[in-house]
Symmetry: D4
Subunit: 249 residues, 8 copies
Amino acid sequence: MKDKIKQILNQIQDSQISIDEGLQQLEQMYSCDMGYARLDTHRQYRKGFPEAIFCPGKTTDQIVQIAKKLHEVSDQNVLATRAGREVYEAVCREIPSTEFNETSRTIVIRKGVQRSVGNILVVSAGTSDLPVAEEAAVTAEAMGNKVERMYDTGVAGLHRLLSQSERLQQAKVLIVVAGMDGVLPSVVGGLATSPVIAVPTSVGYGANFGGLAPLLTMLNSCSEGIGVVNIDNGFGAGYLASLINQAGI
Amino acid sequence: MKDKIKQILNQIQDSQISIDEGLQQLEQMYSCDMGYARLDTHRQYRKGFPEAIFCPGKTTDQIVQIAKKLHEVSDQNVLATRAGREVYEAVCREIPSTEFNETSRTIVIRKGVQRSVGNILVVSAGTSDLPVAEEAAVTAEAMGNKVERMYDTGVAGLHRLLSQSERLQQAKVLIVVAGMDGVLPSVVGGLATSPVIAVPTSVGYGANFGGLAPLLTMLNSCSEGIGVVNIDNGFGAGYLASLINQAGI
Amino acid sequence: MKDKIKQILNQIQDSQISIDEGLQQLEQMYSCDMGYARLDTHRQYRKGFPEAIFCPGKTTDQIVQIAKKLHEVSDQNVLATRAGREVYEAVCREIPSTEFNETSRTIVIRKGVQRSVGNILVVSAGTSDLPVAEEAAVTAEAMGNKVERMYDTGVAGLHRLLSQSERLQQAKVLIVVAGMDGVLPSVVGGLATSPVIAVPTSVGYGANFGGLAPLLTMLNSCSEGIGVVNIDNGFGAGYLASLINQAGI
Amino acid sequence: MKDKIKQILNQIQDSQISIDEGLQQLEQMYSCDMGYARLDTHRQYRKGFPEAIFCPGKTTDQIVQIAKKLHEVSDQNVLATRAGREVYEAVCREIPSTEFNETSRTIVIRKGVQRSVGNILVVSAGTSDLPVAEEAAVTAEAMGNKVERMYDTGVAGLHRLLSQSERLQQAKVLIVVAGMDGVLPSVVGGLATSPVIAVPTSVGYGANFGGLAPLLTMLNSCSEGIGVVNIDNGFGAGYLASLINQAGI
Amino acid sequence: MKDKIKQILNQIQDSQISIDEGLQQLEQMYSCDMGYARLDTHRQYRKGFPEAIFCPGKTTDQIVQIAKKLHEVSDQNVLATRAGREVYEAVCREIPSTEFNETSRTIVIRKGVQRSVGNILVVSAGTSDLPVAEEAAVTAEAMGNKVERMYDTGVAGLHRLLSQSERLQQAKVLIVVAGMDGVLPSVVGGLATSPVIAVPTSVGYGANFGGLAPLLTMLNSCSEGIGVVNIDNGFGAGYLASLINQAGI
Amino acid sequence: MKDKIKQILNQIQDSQISIDEGLQQLEQMYSCDMGYARLDTHRQYRKGFPEAIFCPGKTTDQIVQIAKKLHEVSDQNVLATRAGREVYEAVCREIPSTEFNETSRTIVIRKGVQRSVGNILVVSAGTSDLPVAEEAAVTAEAMGNKVERMYDTGVAGLHRLLSQSERLQQAKVLIVVAGMDGVLPSVVGGLATSPVIAVPTSVGYGANFGGLAPLLTMLNSCSEGIGVVNIDNGFGAGYLASLINQAGI
Amino acid sequence: MKDKIKQILNQIQDSQISIDEGLQQLEQMYSCDMGYARLDTHRQYRKGFPEAIFCPGKTTDQIVQIAKKLHEVSDQNVLATRAGREVYEAVCREIPSTEFNETSRTIVIRKGVQRSVGNILVVSAGTSDLPVAEEAAVTAEAMGNKVERMYDTGVAGLHRLLSQSERLQQAKVLIVVAGMDGVLPSVVGGLATSPVIAVPTSVGYGANFGGLAPLLTMLNSCSEGIGVVNIDNGFGAGYLASLINQAGI
Amino acid sequence: MKDKIKQILNQIQDSQISIDEGLQQLEQMYSCDMGYARLDTHRQYRKGFPEAIFCPGKTTDQIVQIAKKLHEVSDQNVLATRAGREVYEAVCREIPSTEFNETSRTIVIRKGVQRSVGNILVVSAGTSDLPVAEEAAVTAEAMGNKVERMYDTGVAGLHRLLSQSERLQQAKVLIVVAGMDGVLPSVVGGLATSPVIAVPTSVGYGANFGGLAPLLTMLNSCSEGIGVVNIDNGFGAGYLASLINQAGI
């Protein structure tokens, strides 16, 4: 953050920008009031990644304006989650470096050096869990992490998982996504050596109660080293995995 | 049941018992009103095993009287569950062939031919689940089944279970008992070929909510061939296992 | 399973297939990675019936491809549940031996010897419970069991059930399906001698809470010999009934 | 109520009581402030029975004083529920016409003409439900109703209930008390012709959740003509039954 | 019921109907198997009113056929609840004596003597509770009761209720319908002398939880003489009120 | 209220209105029966503001008629909440002084002196909470209060809130609106000196359970001086804030 | 707060205290680290009343030390809630100006000018709600408010409440405490003109679920101007009432 | 693990141990059957720390024997949680290097090199949360991590937390423990840059529902980088923090 401030002051000294422009830029490093939203532009300095855009409840136009502003003030990728294709297309018209992941409904606007460090493994139980698993994977990738995927490895056919146990032990962080009974994180946690982030999904019916069943399973897990995020919160899992994966870097 | 009726009629014919005595015996084959309880003495003919005594909410004296009556009218073992040691001692004073299982707090009054048929395997996740696992095992044994035990095989150390996978595949019925996350039946169900009866226990804390967490896990299991009984209901699991185990016999 | 392996090795020896083809076939006996799914092809050897296709959350094209692959590697019927008519028609275009049950929205692809062994009785409480009851019945039939149906026999008119008590006692396994108050399994369990699989349905309103009410009723049943499956889980009930029905065979 | 007012006015006219005494008596016909309680003395005129004393949370001394006051201002029996034996003994020292029902922990202070009209039948499922069933029966008796009891007739042994179906059809009101699965009111409601008051009890364990399971069963009952009261609320059931039983009288 | 049997036997004796026809008529007095439904035709003899048709989950054609059969075998009105206008029109084409209540979506097919006895008062809290209140009123009217209505009398403006207290005290049975906080039955129960049937509705939002809030309020009511039915169960309330209202008749 | 009564009596004395008209006007000061609704017209005298119209469950025509009647009998603004644009347009055709707030879907019909007293501050956590926050603000404004807004100040970027702490301390009442984790009222309550009304919203997903999570957070707040209203109940918060804000005036 | 700072600086200038002592006093105006607790001594300047001591989970010795420190640094009364008598006696030995309220288990340490301003009315439904009602009353009194009490006025005998309606309308703030069905705040809110703080209590049984029933009733209240606090949170209600009552002062 | 195997083989070669002894030692490296427990002795090789002893449900004698066995086969500290003082004393008699933490009721048996690496910061909201916070801290310390503590920093006095913001930003992992409203992790997560492990505690009353309220708050947190563990699960938090803290080491 000091570098950014120095750079602004240098530009003022060199008369590249006026004092008023410099003042505005300094203020925008903390927050930016857009009327319908007060962007936390300071977040990239504090957390290492700019504020992400959670699309539900915002109009397409609001999302486009927020994306443009974040893209402008940040040196890094900008991420928008739970976006429809029409939102992606609207953003893309304004910022061509925009990518869309159909499965997870995630938008990434590329900027700065694209890194791919460490080793995050995303494991999912069933095919229906893919949207959440992909949201986690895309989030972690957008934050500069190397991400591997191991999908459809539910415990009803345990040999599918056991045959991959080496990969489980090599990951630096594991994200394990499961709906229905939510059993997978307990089994993976018993085999892996690294921290496991458990993500319950709302996939299921009846006494699943919208993901409550796998959430409780994961919170009560007998395996050690498991942290749980909200139901369907792939973004939160990817973010936490990134913080852990880049902790020693 | 026909045999029993014939026998009563023969005794009347041979004047071994009076007509009034015979009538009373015939009536007692259906139910027996003890004032505080109306015993379903017909159950042994209908379900193959006499009514079991659920002790909570009954006085020691009531339990002793019910046990004596059931022992009198039945040709088989009589079972009482959730009994204290003082109840056992009171019953034992009246009926010496009474046995007590301390862990599961179960009383068995031996009578008739003691069989041990088929192959029921009781698997439990942790040491704290033993009382429920033992209630299941004792119930099944009292009903004439051969029972094996495989305890403390939680998935946090999965190799403990995998090293026993042959035994899992040889059982004719499996009872799987687990508290905390309730993950074990899903894993066992993925390895075994026979029906699995899943028993959630109230062992755990916090978001376990008195066994709700493992109950939901088991109801939502992705593995096929699993039936669930009430939380801590070892008796019900043992009873159901007996019906299945003796189905083809 | 040994037979299948022997057969592959023989084909290699006889040069009917190449070593690479044989290797692939051997691998496919365990699992088959289709990108969007990792089929547990080993399941038919382990559980006696191939993996069933749970359609929600899969595209029609994915379901068709999975169905074709399972049909190819399995010697038995293939089952797909919760399928729409358009899915059925798409599968049928590829595999003509496909059948559709409109009420339960179940697809069965016929293959191998069609058996019909034992005696499973499906009892349901009301007309609205038919889709779940039929899912159970069709599943059990697809797995080679003889299935009888006894529908609309709720306890509000108890004589409808009592007049059929002989059939209740002759069944080797009973599946009892009920929504609303979920009372039927308790009453059937009091009359029958064989194991009862209780299936709560989400039929009802108000304090039914999407099937929670009948689920709790069944878990707390005072009648012995009852195992419970998830709300609306006709498939799970049919599968478990099949394992029990064929246990002694 | 008019009679009572007239009587007071007559006593004033005849100088049997002073105007101040008369005023106080008239005020006490509506409510009576005892500091720790504001008795609704008007209730006997409005509802036909004086306010009952719910003992939990009151000191023995407060209960005795309230009982004395209600006994004084009322022409009828006074009822106190959920009372310990020591409370009974304290009341009895002050008012000898006090009776205690040990099972239901109910105190009745006799006064006025003891009636026994109509026909209320209290049916209970198991021995552990007796305290609640007796609270209902004693309440109804104290309010001047004829009460019959039919206990321990759970549906696990349905013939015990069916053999009494004539009594079920002759009752003018039925109170049906059940814990565990709470199935009995649905079955009784299917056989009886009169209104059924269903009382869930907290008897049970595990997924019974303190009586929630039978409460939901009863609220969702498929049988018509059933009204439900709170868990363990024998008093409320007896009260409602009395209002119905005496409606036409 | 004896009259009906006698009449059939007379018709056989007089050769008005054949023995086979008589047998069929006798059987239909108990139940009638229509394939998709097993009508409890005995109910009108047992409960005094024929089985009502709960429309959800039945096709229009099924409803029409069931209505025709019930209308044929019954001497009284036939009732169908939760029906759409198109269902009404389909029934009306077959049976012209059919009426429709738009607010409560109830169908009544008139037959026999139309009675209007006793005095049932239906009280509702808000305008949105009208559909449930009307379902109760129409049900009670169809069963031959005199019904009065007192709508939109919530306690937020208590004077609206107090100004009608005389009507509250004159009713023989009261049905009180309320959503939101469900407070009205407690207040009415404190003013009225007759039994109160409380009906929670699903009207509300937020922590109303689909009617759970008013349901709990009513179950915990401090006023005596209140029985509760399921959320939105106007039919059940009308039925129970009818049984109570006609008890002494 | 006395003024209004005097005015009516004067008009009668002066023969401006007939006695019948005067009587009707006096009656309408208490309640007004419109068939489908019984308006509590006395509320403006009792609570200081006329009854508001909660639109869900009412037809457009009913809303228009109620609005007209309230506008006629009241001296103040009339408020309708949760209204669609088409409802606004229908009301506007009848009463031109009608305004619509699109975000909160609130209708205000202006009448009388428009005040703007005291100082109510509405704080909201996220952009998606705006509809509820605006409902609170518009309600308070319609009731004659001065209202300030401070939106999108969630604690994930705490500096956005801290930079406004002076405004927090100057408000006479604060309304704090938050979904998701519902953390904002606790933080604001720790900084402010005036009463805080906390409004949970249903914004969120997964273990948010429709607003249950923020509701529980707010009820358990460690900060003092917080009162909670129902989930999404912006109207209730604005109303309560108005009563507090105008308490000393 | 400025006065306090000025005073410290004056003492330093006058050499009454050393600079170190002054520094410590200034620091203690913000917080005070006692090892086991970090007192928020700034709270009296921010909220107008010092931090209160919530006793559960603290040792008697810790409570005494915290009480002494708060008493030392504050100019006002110190309050401790949910305290046992032995805690009171221990505090009293150290600070004689300590008072104990047995019913609510509240300790007040008197200091400074004892005010009694405004008009707070505490209304409670039943005798068992007294501890919570008294906690609210004592808290408000300790904070300098005039408090009136109106106890045992449940709606089952509505005339008890209506006869006091004048007092309800004169209060500046009302605290309404109720367990069981929690109906009282809705009724009081319909009669009163001032803000109502509703306090659910855990008094009740069965479907009361530890106070959940009255909590939901109050959150869903149809009467306007009601804010709700946590179950049994008399302290929170008293605190909020004080902020409102003293708002205009 | 290879080192350990090599060492055993060397001892056999050198005849220091017999082949049978060597075999037993090799087997014990995987699991150890003690009858009442099947220790997962392989866990220290797989997860880097031996199995911890969860004391509830085990007898003191069982705990002592398990502790001795784990201490024997492991090179590292052994940890037992939720232990009473009498358990500590019994263990201490057998293994003198045993330590007890009274607040958290944790036993640590020291062995091997005592490390203290990285930087874990444990933050807690209130004094009552100390037992859980200490369980987390002791667990992390026993696993070789440097742990700092920052206690009693709830958001009701936010300046206590803000004054320590530098420490929040310097930690490599943060464990944040809170009961009541569970707000602290959201606020800390908004200020810190490293991963936050949120631990809800069961501290609170009323609508806290045994820790459910803070659990939901934490799962729904708007701040990024937060993983949640079970209610009161200090052990799980300490374990997960250790895995993260030592990830790069």
